[in-house]
Every structure is written in C-alpha cells, then in structure tokens.
C-alpha cells in the first residue's frame, strides 16, 4: 500500500494530469511572477506613477508655467503639495507633466532598441556564416562605444537642425529617443542570436521546415515567439536605462529645453538651490529613483518567471 503511494502508476499520473485545469504558458508565467513579492510591489508603484502622470494633470489643474514671484521657492504646503521653484511655478504640476515625457522616452527608446536588436540578432542567428560573423563584429564594436559622450556629441551636433525642422519638442524627443535606442540594442541582439542558434536546430523547427514552411514563416511563427523570454526581460531593464539616460542628458542641461520639465530637467534647475530649497531636487530625484527601482524589480521578477529552468522545478 505504501509503495503504491510513493510510486503512482502511469495511469494515475495521467488521471491527475487530466483532472488539473490546463494552464497556458502565460498563465504559468504570471502565476510565478505574482509570487515574486518585490516585483509585485514594483508593479504597484509603477502603475501608481503611470496613473498619476496620465490622469494627474486632469485632476491637478494648476498650469506648469505660471510664474508667481510671491510664491517663489516655497516648501511643500496645501496649495503647492510639492512646493515651488525659483519662478514660483507649481512643482507637482511640472512633475506630473514631465513624468509623461520621461516615461514616454523610456518606452519609445526601449521599443527602438528591441526592434533593432531583434532584427540584427535574428538575421545573424538564422543565417549564420559570414553575415553572422560581420554582424557580431559590428555588435562588439558598438558595445565598446562610449555611450554618454557619444550621446552628448550627437545631441550637440544635431540638436539645432532638428529643432528647426521639427519644432523644439518633437525634434528633441525624436533625437533623444533615436540615439538612446540606437546605442542600446547590442545586448538584445546577442540574446536573440543565442536563442536562434539553439532553436533553429530544435525538432519543432525542423518539422516545420520539413512541412515546407518558408524561412520567413519559420522565423516569425516558430523561432521568434520562443525566443522572446530574455528579450522581454532585457526590454524591461532597457526602459529603466533609457529613463536614466534621458534624465542624465537633461541634468547636464543638454536634453529637453526648460519649457519641457522632464524630471532630469527639474533636477538641473534645482541643483544650484540645494541649500535653501532641497525639496525642489528631492521630489524629481525620488521619482526617477522609484521608477527605475520598480522597473528593475519587475525585470527581476520577469526573469525568474520566464526562466525555463524554473518550470521543471516548480
């Protein structure tokens, strides 16, 4: 009797398996993600920040650029919950508006990085040979480019021209997003290539090939969906890195112009008034920190949830 409990027959196992509700890959992943406590905290904080910057300006109606010298450099109070800057502009309104830009830059730059990285990694991994070799040399070279100096150089050389043709906001946005994304695709390309190298030899791809699937169909329908796990993790971390990159640029005074108060830009304006208006720097800095920390924890949770090794030992 005891032996039967310890080693159930195949038929028993099948019965148990059939009785369990079928759970899809994504439901499994989300179940494992929800078990990562800090990742869940990160998700909640990030969602709260998102709701705040998207809906906040509708609820908090103070203009972002109303100059009021009587209320200059005020500490937080009921009329200005986050205080005011040296022109008496309301910091809550400015941060809610600037947060939209900061987060939008992060997401857009991540999408660019992932698209370039996936395209190059997929080409390299699927075709192999000389093309693979050349593309990987190019990737290695891009990995040794000095990111921030190059970013500064490009912004410096192209800013005025783009501002003239596309207007100050759109021009700077496109420039910053394109350059940050264009300098961050290399890790994704390497990950996708590694996935492709192992997946293209797997039986299910072979059978698709045997059934006459075109190379494009093999890649898009069979290999790519199975190689997305690490890309999702890398993409999450990229959002955080892009937000930091934009804030750094703005903090150095070379990102967005003063009338677009991204969080980094507010810090740039605040840094010379640290001794008598610390709140001015603390709030945007904390916002950047909380956003990046939440995104990093979400990335960590996703990595655990998407790791196929974890599936076996659940």
């Amino acid at each position: 009797m005891t032996a039967r409990v310890a080693a159930p027959t195949v038929a028993d196992r099948l019965a148990v398996a059939a009785a369990e509700p079928r759970s899809s890959l994504w439901r499994e992943t989300s179940r494992r993600f929800r078990r990562h406590r800090l990742a869940m905290v990160g998700t909640v904080i990030l969602l709260a920040l998102l709701v705040a910057v998207l809906a906040g300006p509708l609820a908090w109606r103070l203009p972002i650029n109303e100059i009021d010298f009587k209320a200059k450099l005020k500490s937080p109070s009921w009329s200005h919950p986050l205080g005011t800057d040296d022109l008496g502009q309301d910091l809550l309104a400015r941060m809610l508006y600037g947060g939209r830009i900061s987060l939008a830059v992060g997401v857009a730059a991540m999408l660019i990085a992932i698209s370039i990285g996936t395209a190059i990694g997929a080409t390299s991994g699927y075709l192999g040979g000389a093309i693979d070799h050349t593309l990987m040399r190019v990737t290695d070279m891009f990995l040794s480019l000095p990111g921030l100096p190059l970013l500064l150089l490009i912004v410096y050389l192209f800013r005025d021209a783009l501002r003239k043709t596309l207007g100050p906001e759109v021009g700077v946005f496109i420039l910053i997003v394109a350059v940050i994304g264009g300098l961050r695709w290399m890790p994704v390309a390497r990950l996708v290539r590694a996935q492709f190298l192992s997946l293209r030899e797997k039986e299910f791809v072979e059978s698709a090939r045997g059934l006459g699937a075109s190379p494009l169909r093999q890649v898009v329908r069979h290999i790519l969906p199975n190689s997305m796990g690490p890309v999702i993790v890398a993409g999450t971390i990229d959002v955080a890195a892009a937000i930091i990159a934009e804030s750094t640029l703005s903090f150095l005074g070379l990102g967005f112009p003063p009338d677009i108060p991204t969080w980094g830009r507010i810090l740039f304006d605040a840094k010379d008034n640290l001794d008598f208006a610390p709140h001015w720097a603390l709030f945007p800095g904390t916002a950047i920190f909380l956003t990046v920390l939440s995104i990093n924890y979400i990335g960590d949770g996703l990595r655990d949830a998407l790791d196929p090794r974890k599936v076996l030992g659940k």
């Binding site: 040794s144 000095p146 990111g147 921030l148 192209f158 750094t248 150095l252 005074g253 980094g264 720097a281």
Partner: protein, 319 residues
C-alpha cells in the same frame, strides 16, 4: 601570455578604427558649416569663402577627409580650442590626470566593497546579511549618479558640513594639510562613483560565487586538507571572478558616463567636465577630441579586462 596579449592588442585596432569611423561619420553628417559666419558677412566675397573651403579640404571626397583626420589624430595634431586658445592636446593632458585618479580610486573602492560582500552573501544565501546586501545593491544601481551626488552634497556638505562640495585645484595649505584637503574633497566624487560600480559588481560576484561554490573541485580542495580560507581565495573567488570580469568589462562605458556626471556635479577639473563645458561653448575640436579619448579609454580598459582574464584563467591565453 605575450602572444595572447599581442593578439588582443591587434584585435582592438579594428575596433578603434570602427569607432573613429563612427565618430567621423557623425561629424560629417552633422549640419552646419565652419565658414557659415563668413557667408552672412557682406565684406567677405564668395570666392574667398570657396578658397578657404578648398584650402581646408572641405570639398574633398569623404574617404580622403577621413584618412586625413585619422592621420592628424594619430600624430597628436588635435586642433586648437576656440575658447581656451590653447592646443587641444595640451588642454586634455592637463585634465586627464584628475579623471583617471577619481576613476581609479572609485574602482578600487568598488572592488574592495563588492568582492568581500558578494562572496559572503553567496556563502550564506538568503541569510539576513544576504538579503540586506542584495536589497542595498538593487537600490545602489537604481540610484542614478546625479541623484546620489546631490544627496551626498545635501547630507555631508549642507546638513552636516563635513566635506567641501566644490573641488578646488588651488589649495593654499602646505604639508600634510595639503594632502588632507585633497583627500577630503575627493571623498564624495569617489564615493558616488565607487558605490555605483560596487552595486552591480556585488550582484555579479554573488551570482558567480553561488555558481562556483557547489562545484566538485571545491569539495576536492577541502578534502585534500586545504584550510577554508585558502579554498575560498584560491579556488572559489579566483574562478568566480572570471564571469565577473566579463560583466564588469561590459559596464565600462556606463562607468565613464557616471564619471562625466560626477565630475560635473562636484566640478572636478577632469575631461568629463571639460566635455560638458566645451559643448556648452560650441567648442567642436575639444568635443571631438574628448569623445575620442573616452573611446580610447574604453578600448584600453577592455584590453585590461582581457589581460586579467588571461591571468585568472590561463587556459584562455593558450587557446
């Protein structure tokens, strides 16, 4: 080993050529003309402007201009700073030591923090120490350097009034006092940059030790009677450092980005703050040269990482 070193050095030459090509392409694609001001000046006839363009070779085909630029850079002829009115290479040589000193000290701080903490965390995984260290490391690399810098100034300079927040090159004190003042003003920039590096390094170190410590050869080392300390240092840490070096080498461009920000916040007279100042002053020759220097520094550090790699794992240098 010397053959390995030679091979790695030769490989970095095409990388440098590629980087210089990227830099030159960006410069060539950029809108704007150095003689633009002359075009709007009615006193300068059009043919004078054309002759000037021809004299400086601006109308030549791109590959020729690239070749000339590379040769000039290689010969140390980096142009003339419009703003400072000195040769660019003199300017950079004045500023480079400060940058290298801060970066070197910060890396040392990072190594001294990360290796012991990461190792100890991995030896007692999920203990209170490990959880505290992991959380702090997460916070550390989520804090952007510019915010850490401002927080340090707020706490140590303004609130506690312990440390100066502006870096001064002209300290009048003499003797020990002079050294002490220099150390005091370097504490905050080095700490900001060092803690930033230490955060990610601790995580890498913990993961690497966790992988290594379970392996059979560690048990063998213990079984043949080596002390716990020797096992740890010579067998566990040394092998765990191999993947850590790879990961840290990938972080190098990030570290230089952090250095620029730190120099700018604390006004350290290094090449990072020179870069920002030249950009704000439209001093193109200096901007180009500093960017190129940063590229060279990245390539040299990657080479150093390769060297370290060969020393840690002798098999690599024999392949």
């Amino acid at each position: 080993m010397s053959k390995y070193l030679l091979r790695r050095t030769l490989i970095s030459i095409p990388v440098l050529a590629g980087i210089s090509a990227v830099l030159f392409t960006i410069l060539a694609l950029a809108p704007g003309d150095p003689f633009e001001e002359l075009a709007t000046n009615p006193n300068v006839p059009a043919e004078v402007r054309m002759n000037l363009r021809a004299k400086f070779g601006l109308d030549d085909p791109l590959p020729l201009r690239y070749a000339r630029w590379v040769v000039a850079m290689a010969r140390g002829d980096w142009g003339f700073s419009f703003v400072s009115r000195v040769d660019v290479d003199t300017l950079i040589l004045q500023r480079l030591p400060a940058t290298l000193a801060v970066l070197g000290a910060a890396s040392l701080v990072a190594i001294l923090i990360a290796i012991p903490i990461g190792t100890y965390s991995a030896l007692r995984p999920y203990s209170i120490f490990d959880q505290a260290a992991t959380t702090l490391a997460f916070i550390g690399f989520s804090l952007p350097t510019f915010f850490t810098g401002l927080l340090f100034i707020l706490l140590f300079s303004i609130h506690l009034d312990w440390l100066p927040f502006i870096y001064r090159a002209d300290i009048s004190a003499t003797g020990w006092q002079w050294y002490w003042e220099h150390v005091r003003q370097a504490i905050m920039p080095v700490a900001v940059l060092g803690l930033f590096q230490a955060a990610s390094m601790t995580r890498f170190m913990r993961a690497a030790v966790l992988d290594v410590v379970r392996l059979d050869y560690v048990n063998t080392a213990r079984a043949k009677g080596l002390s716990e300390g020797t096992t740890l240092v010579k067998h566990v840490v040394r092998n765990a450092l191999i993947p850590v070096v790879t990961l840290v080498a990938l972080q190098i461009p990030n570290i230089f980005g952090g250095a620029i920000v730190t120099e700018q916040i604390f006004r350290v007279p290094g090449i990072g703050s020179l870069l920002i100042a030249s950009i704000l002053a439209n001093d193109t020759p200096v901007v180009m040269a500093v960017t190129f220097i940063f590229s060279c520094l990245v390539v040299v550090s990657n080479l150093a990482a390769d060297l370290l790699y060969g020393w840690l794992d002798p098999r690599i240098s024999y392949r």
